[in-house]
């Protein structure tokens, strides 16, 4: 079946299979989950590699009418283009990694993997969907699993509060966006929420400027809450700090991108006037992410809160790229989304492993761990360096592209972004590395152990992908660029549309600690 449906159904079938296995067969459950997520990852990789780069339009498409009653017309429509193929790839990889690092889950193993699999299925479905109803449907599938996982397997005293906070924020965002989507459906009058149908319909009957002006903010701010746009971001760090490792990886890495994806897929291309009116506001708020969250990250002692805040800062780059409304900026945003998915997955996996070894994520209590855990230390250095924006990692490629793309329209914001992202962020990350890895060894951590050989797999996998896309971002940009042009088709004059995005030349093999794998 050469349709993206297979990549959604694989985790669904895995979840159903897990339900049939008795709950006390823990090893069988774990192996089945690993196998299922490996299949999902493999399917995602195979779609990514078979994707024809540089080609416009959709690939691996399938369309099934779903509800057609009267004026209500919804269809299951999946397909890949440059916007989502990279996200599908990283969903597969991060999902596989999340299952792998969850080997030490002991309580309610069956429930855990079923919930994790439904999160993966939801994320896959959301990214693959071209019908906005199905996008919403799949995206919401992850809500209940997140809540239960934080509560049952979460960390810390505050997890109860964190579980409610994350759930209520995500619901508020999703419902605001849903009202916007329904209003858009009614106003567009295309009797469809399929972006392809809508695009064709709106080209002939554009939405009135006044309608765009009030629907666009509903949709964009609704989805932006899901991403953690300043000042609607406070749920994210506490939620991730309380979540079990796999949930934090999936949510910070993958599900947070769904909001950005929806903005790029629907709001920007279909409501150009609304975008012109409101994206400057988004750009200013994005700087709030970059400055405020990076600054907050600087003060964290808890490693998860550090990663959570710094990941919000990275979201500032993504919003800035969208707000620039240039092909280069949008390409950069998609690149940032893919790169950050890998980075956030890696970072939370690293902090999760640290917690299993030291029993804490309080960085002030650690020190000298590099000697005890050379592989782990190298991976941590690489991950945090990538987060600083070190050339050679995909994150640098994405962030630099965003800055190039935004320079013309938003020069001051670019200066602030570069300054904060690259200086404050770097200070925060380097301080963390110093606190954890260097300095005298602490006697209470004399028994920590490095990762066993096969448990290195998820870290090596994520790091390799980051380095691969860092040294050869063309693999991604050649796929993204036609889609980025399509996103901005309604915004650009014909001469601009043919500008090629400048991909920053990333010096190869400049990553320190490269010998780790």
């Amino acid at each position: 079946m050469d349709s993206l449906t297979s990549v959604i159904l694989t985790p669904v079938f895995t979840a159903v299979l897990l339900l049939l296995i008795p709950g006390n067969f823990r090893v069988v459950l774990r192996l089945a989950a690993i196998l299922g997520s490996a299949c999902t990852a493999w399917t995602a990789v195979s779609f990514f590699s078979r994707f024809h780069a540089g080609q416009e339009g959709l690939q691996f498409e399938s369309l099934v009418p779903w509800v057609t009653v009267g004026p209500l017309n919804l269809a299951y429509h999946v397909g890949a283009d440059g916007l989502n193929i990279g996200l599908i790839l990283v969903t597969g990889l991060v999902g596989f990694a999340a299952v792998l690092v969850s080997w030490n889950i002991e309580r309610h193993v069956k429930l855990f993997y079923v919930l994790l699999m439904s999160m993966i299925a939801g994320a896959m479905g959301a990214f693959a969907s071209l019908d906005l109803f199905f996008f919403y449907f799949f995206n919401e599938l992850a809500l209940v699993p997140t809540f239960i996982m934080i509560g049952v397997w979460g960390r810390g005293e505050d997890r109860n509060w964190a579980a409610f906070k994350i759930t209520l924020y995500l619901t508020l965002g999703a419902l605001t966006a849903l009202v916007g989507l329904i209003a858009f459906y009614v106003a567009a009058g295309a009797n469809s929420l399929d972006v392809i149908v809508l695009k064709a319909h709106l080209a002939a009957h554009p939405l009135s400027v006044s309608a765009q002006t009030w629907i666009f903010p509903l949709v964009v701010f609704g989805f932006a809450i899901l991403v953690g746009l300043f000042p609607f971001h406070s749920w994210a760090p506490v939620g991730y700090a309380a979540a079990p490792t796999a949930t934090a990886m999936m949510h910070a890495g993958i599900l947070k991108k769904a909001g950005l994806y929806a903005i790029l897929r629907m709001a920007v291309p279909l409501m150009p006037d609304g975008a012109h009116r409101w994206l400057p506001v988004v750009a200013v708020l994005a700087v709030g992410n970059l400055l405020h969250c990076a600054w907050v990250a600087l003060r964290q002692k808890d490693m998860n809160l550090l990663i959570g805040n710094s990941s919000l800062a990275h979201m500032g780059f993504a919003f800035l790229g969208i707000a620039s409304l240039t092909v280069i900026g949008v390409t950069g945003t998609v690149l940032v989304m893919v790169a950050h998915a890998l980075l956030a997955g890696l970072s939370f996996a690293l902090s999760g492993y640290l917690e299993t070894q030291t029993g804490t994520v309080d960085m002030t209590r650690m020190g000298g761990l590099l000697r005890k855990m050379p592989f782990y230390g190298s991976a941590l250095v690489m991950g945090f360096m990538a987060s600083c924006g070190l050339p050679g990692f995909a994150n640098f490629a994405g962030e630099a592209t965003v800055l190039f793309g935004s320079w013309k329209s938003l020069p001051w914001l670019v200066i602030i972004a570069a300054w904060s992202g690259l200086i404050i962020g770097a200070v925060a990350m380097l301080r963390a590395l110093r606190a954890v890895l260097q300095g005298p060894e602490k006697p209470e951590f004399s028994r920590v152990a490095d990762l066993g050989y096969w448990r290195r797999l998820p870290f090596v996998m994520l790091l390799s992908a980051m380095v691969l896309f860092g040294v050869a971002p063309g693999i991604l940009t050649s796929r993204i660029e036609p889609a980025a042009k399509a996103v901005l088709a309604a915004h650009l004059t014909p001469s601009q549309a043919h500008q090629a995005p400048a991909v920053p030349a990333a010096p190869a093999a400049s990553a320190p600690g490269h010998s780790g794998h």
């Binding site: 309610h108 209940v144 239960i148 419902l175």
Partner: protein, 492 residues
Amino acid sequence: MNYSLITLEVLAVLMGLIVLLADLWVSPTARKALGLGLAAALGCLLAFAVGSLAPQSGSAFADMFVVDDLARYFKGFFLFAALAVVLMAVDFAPKFGAGLSEFFALTVFALVGMLFAASANDLVLLFVSLELITVTFYVLNSFQRTQLASLEAGVKYLILGGVSSAFMVFGIALIFGTANSTNLGVLAAKQKELAHSALFLMGLLLVLVGLGFKISAVPFQMWAPDVYQGSPAPATAFLAVGSKAAGFVLLIRLLVGAVPQITAEWHRLFVVMSGATILFGSLCAIPQRNLKRLMGYSSIANAGYLLLGIVAGSAAGSTAVLYYLGGYTLTVLAAFTVISAIANFVESDDISALSGLGQRSPFLAACLTMAIVSLAGIPPMAGFFGKLLLFKSVLDVAPGHPELYALIAVAVVGVVISLYYYFSVIRAIYWGGQSANLSIIPVALSTRIVLVACVAGMLVLGIFPQGLVKIADHAVAGLSHKVAPASAKPAH
């Protein structure tokens, strides 16, 4: 006259009488078997009602009683609800003490009231069927005679129900006085002239008071939490599902079918009613610690969401109400089946008593969680698509009516608030507190079947809503949707 139209109702009455008579000969130990037999009979009746042998469309008794797609739609759900409630009661039997057969018989008589209500095309039949439902519930609610809370529930329902019936009779009298008829068809034909008669409007308003009581809409909602909390779980379930659905089918017949023009003029009244009901239910549910009481407030909030469809006043609105009620029936039945199944093993109705349910019975825990998720309106459950249809039906007619946008904002706030208290229940199930007692809760086969049917139904309706939406769309096609002035928008 076409007497065959009331076959279903006659058969149901016979069943109730047979159960009452059989009680004289069946030994007390075999009464559960009697319940299972009744459930089987109701199952046959359900198959008959939804099958091709069902009475054809038509009207009888001087146009008092109609059978149309709308009636058939509701009758199917009433029968299913009664079937589930009887099975629930079989499991719940130890809590009743004595009188199990009477409980079965009363359930069937309440069902008869609902079946008549679904077909009522005359204010007199409307009143009589509602009274049949209400009077049986006076008894059903206070069925645990040794429990003070149950008696209180019964008395409260009796007094408030009596008051609301009085309002309704008064209203019907005024309508009859001005319109010279109580037939909904006649009212529909005369509505233009009647719309100017203050007495008629007064009468209509008073009838709405009675129906508002049935569906527990603000400001007639005060009874719901107390009655839900005090009544035995199967009776509460039937009240939550059947009584509310009966109220809504009558509301649709009266407001959308008979006097759509006046409904459109009273548009603001329903906007305020709907918004206030949603907010009241959601806000008051927050501090609740008793699960049944929480369900009472949740049922108030849900009445508010259902009123969104009436506010829209369009065919899409009525379709949404029907679909939502379908999903709601399955959801509430699933929730109460779990509540009643654990009643014998969990000491109290408190939410905290659910702690450890995730370990004591993963099956019941999963079923209750899915029901809660559906109530909260999260995919892939039926509740999500229902809310989507309701929201859409209002947004359809909203352009030019700022109060409708405000109403949608209120509804969104209501959903977010509701998530808090619904998810508190999920928390209790999976990680709230430490339960000392972790013994396994056995689940009877009949309960299992009901739960699997309800959960499967919720999932199927949520993932493949096409079928039910289409049926609901057909069911409301016969109503004369006088579109609200708002919705005079160009057809796409």
